[in-house]
Symmetry: C2
Amino acid sequence: MDRKALINQIRLKKSFLCIGLDTDINKIPKHLLELNDPVFEFNKQIIDATKDFCVAYKINTAFYESRGVKGWESLVKTWQYLPKDCFSIADAKRGDIGNTSEMYASAFFDEASSAMSFDSITVAPYMGADSVKPFLKFKDKWVILLALTSNDGSKDFQNLSVGSEMLFETVIQKAGEWAGDEQMMFVVGATRGEAFLNIRKYAPEHFLLVPGVGAQGGSLEEVCKYGMTKDCGLLVNSSRAVIYASAGQDFAEKAKEEAMKVQKEMEIVLETVF
Amino acid sequence: MDRKALINQIRLKKSFLCIGLDTDINKIPKHLLELNDPVFEFNKQIIDATKDFCVAYKINTAFYESRGVKGWESLVKTWQYLPKDCFSIADAKRGDIGNTSEMYASAFFDEASSAMSFDSITVAPYMGADSVKPFLKFKDKWVILLALTSNDGSKDFQNLSVGSEMLFETVIQKAGEWAGDEQMMFVVGATRGEAFLNIRKYAPEHFLLVPGVGAQGGSLEEVCKYGMTKDCGLLVNSSRAVIYASAGQDFAEKAKEEAMKVQKEMEIVLETVF
């Protein structure tokens, strides 16, 4: 999905919500456990219930890998079930030397090779240019590069001073040499609203993937105040607050209510820019 | 496998060779392609041929993920086939917020969950302490943290000045707060022999995983000169030079010859320390 199509979806659905399918078999409703693939069945019902209120789904691959081959089967089936008008994110935090990143790109972008073709993948920047560029060879596929994450550990390295900047700012600047805002987004943690001011100096038009609204404690208002552009420029993720809104038979209905609630908040904000 | 057992294996086999199973289905001998799981059959024969000459196997997960579910099956079967007296490395370059890193730890360390339990995993440091610590909760399991990698892109961030140090030096120092040399190793690229002098200031006793000897152009002599400790302190990896020593029917025999050649060089060096 290209940038224009993504913006179009945001306009159509009046939403920039991304739903994170961090599906933990130990947290899904117990009645699903009798089914053949409980994780996929959970995802399927969550997707059916929420797809009108979000523009993106982010699949956290760790939750699938943790269950070995069975988990990877659930991952593939979930990707295949995602509505094609939703932007899909493999939240995989990959990155390695060139020939290895090519293999990771095949894993998440090349359907002929892996039976999956996400629109985007999250990538860790530590290994530099040649660890990122192999993903950019795929047309209309995106790298979502880690810049400033929302966890405590982000302070350890991302906030270190490198000359007159912080490391995460240097990462964003450097990444500008590898791709423009048609193929590159950045992960920016939502728990620090004012951080977006700095980010927008270096990435005025880029889309930013914002985790940490909801369960991780960020505020949608702050994010929009400091981070929104004339094209929206934001994908705000909610995982646990939506998908685990209820642990009962009504989990999908409650997830829908939660997604709808966030979408309504987003609709109000979007009226100020579109 | 704990540190003592690893050092013991190095003494016994007179080798600190790690063989990288970066198994690419497009590069393995054509006669294997008729078999049910060509990648596993290739790995099996490589392992049988080389296990007396190396102390570790490193499985590059990207090469398996690129083939989707089939690839993940080959990965699990390969781990299960690894000799238990060899140190096993999941070269996965993972790292995410705490609850997600816990899932990655389950994927590679918890056999009950994923049918695999490697001795160690490579981890990217960018997200800091809470992205690394979940892996350290497992007894006798190791984190091999990316410090200085051997690719061109390593210059982009790893070599940046952070105060009076370079970023990779800060990473090594900071990691010392999370674990000692009984559970933490560092990836240090072999193409820069003198870089080991600096590394040893910060990590005098840690084992270092050294990629890039052979196909990537590093010199074993340089690595040992600057990096070796009284306990050896090195695992030197060779992937392509060993596993693709021949593309014919004799691939396993040629891999054995190559592994033996490197082991003989290592034996000579080890005589100077043990």
